[in-house]
Amino acid sequence: MKVSVQGVRVDRGDWSLSAEGTFNEGIHLVSGDVGSGKSTLALMLAGLLTAASGYIERQGISSHMIAFQFPEFHITGTDIFKECRSWGIDPGPVLASAGLADGALTDPHALSRGELKRLVLFCILAKQYDLLILDEPFSSLDCVEKERLCAELSGRKHGITVIFTHEQAFFPKVDRIWEISGGILHDRGRVPDALGRWEHAPAVIRDLVRAGKVPANISRTELLEAVCRT
């Protein structure tokens, strides 16, 4: 199962994005500044946007899903119970995981942006997709929820998961790091080797790498281990 990005290019006036590479099974982190083209690439990987040149080939992928940055776009149910049902999942466990079990009859639009984001993410994570694309999954979440989402994502063993984010504090365990800079998608390689080449790395990771304490991965646990390493 893999997604090959072959000579893809998008142009919008002075702005452009070029991408090349292969996303194999595992968890991939794509970082980059706001406006660098993360959402554009996410849409292209999901097959929702056609590149001006090049192509994206999916092999062995029978199901895919993208979680948009703004969770409202996904809503079709008139209450959160029906919303869970619209994803084809059992609402009970999902609402319990999302901490929304008490408000099953609440209109999804009456939830705060953070609650809605949580609901949609947990509905998506309750299913097994061969290709799962998450566009800024950490936005609108508080620190506790970000940590919980990281734990969920770290435990994901099936298929290809691509996380597009400019988050600098919370990360799940990832297999490979990519970054978009100067309008080009760069493959920084497998973690932990990628950490020394990661330009958008958070300051704490840069400092750790500089001090020779390269963390095994970028989740909070691994970073703490590296910080405490003597």
Partner: protein, 217 residues
């Protein structure tokens, strides 16, 4: 047409003419074919053709129930085409300039700004609708009539929330009314010819032909 003053004036006149008489609608359609780059307009404003089809459906119902449906469809279709042309040629900031030129730095500026915001909202709604459609299709649902209620709900709530946030932001920044704007308009020869043609169509549509051709008597 590059000059927003002539473009808006022509669109207003032509819409009025097309709405009022069938002959006028025919003349306006010819004007639209000559001056609007029709293919580019229809390619850019993809909602124009579905809107005409929707009007045609109601026109057919009207024709079958009470008559006058075909005339209504033809007139409304031409108005939609004129509206599509006006929207397709729009460039950001034009209505702010037009409002200020027409009504001054207070009421005119405010009206222009409201028009700009409305157009910006239309663009955002179109982008949101695309995202909603994609999200629903990925979820396994088919995009159809049943999708319209949830999609409409998201669009309306989103637009109201954005309007509310914009209003709060402007109030926080100290906005009360009016503002400074020094619009620059570019008028080409083609603009003038198209404007004159629009005025001629208005005159022809409302005055009997015999008034022009005295010898006809």
């Amino acid at each position: 047409m590059q000059d927003i003053r002539l473009r808006t004036g022509a669109a207003a006149l032509l819409s009025f003419v097309a709405f009022t008489t069938l002959t006028g609608a025919l003349l306006v359609f010819i004007w639209w074919l000559v001056f609007s780059h029709p293919l580019q307009v229809l390619k850019k404003i993809r909602g124009a053709v579905p809107a005409i089809i929707l009007v045609a459906f109601f026109g057919l119902v009207l024709e079958l129930t009470g008559g006058g449906g075909f005339s209504y469809t033809a007139r409304m279709a031409v108005i939609i085409l004129v509206g599509a042309w006006l929207y397709a040629e729009y460039r950001q900031g034009e209505f702010l300039g037009l409002g200020t030129w027409l009504g001054g730095k207070k009421a005119g500026f405010d009206c222009g700004m409201v028009a700009e915001m409305a157009i910006q909202s239309l663009d955002l709604m179109a982008a949101d609708l695309t995202r909603i459609r994609h999200a629903q299709e990925l979820k396994g649902g088919h995009w159809g009539v049943r999708s319209l209620v949830p999609a409409g709900s998201i669009l309306i709530r989103g637009t109201l929330r954005r309007a509310d946030e914009t209003a709060e932001l402007m109030a926080v920044r100290g906005y009360q009314r009016g503002g400074s704007c020094c619009p620059l308009f570019t008028t080409t020869r083609r603009d003038i010819i198209a404007g004159i043609a629009a005025v001629c169509i208005t005159v022809i549509a409302f005055l009997p032909v015999s008034e022009f051709f005295i010898l006809y008597h």
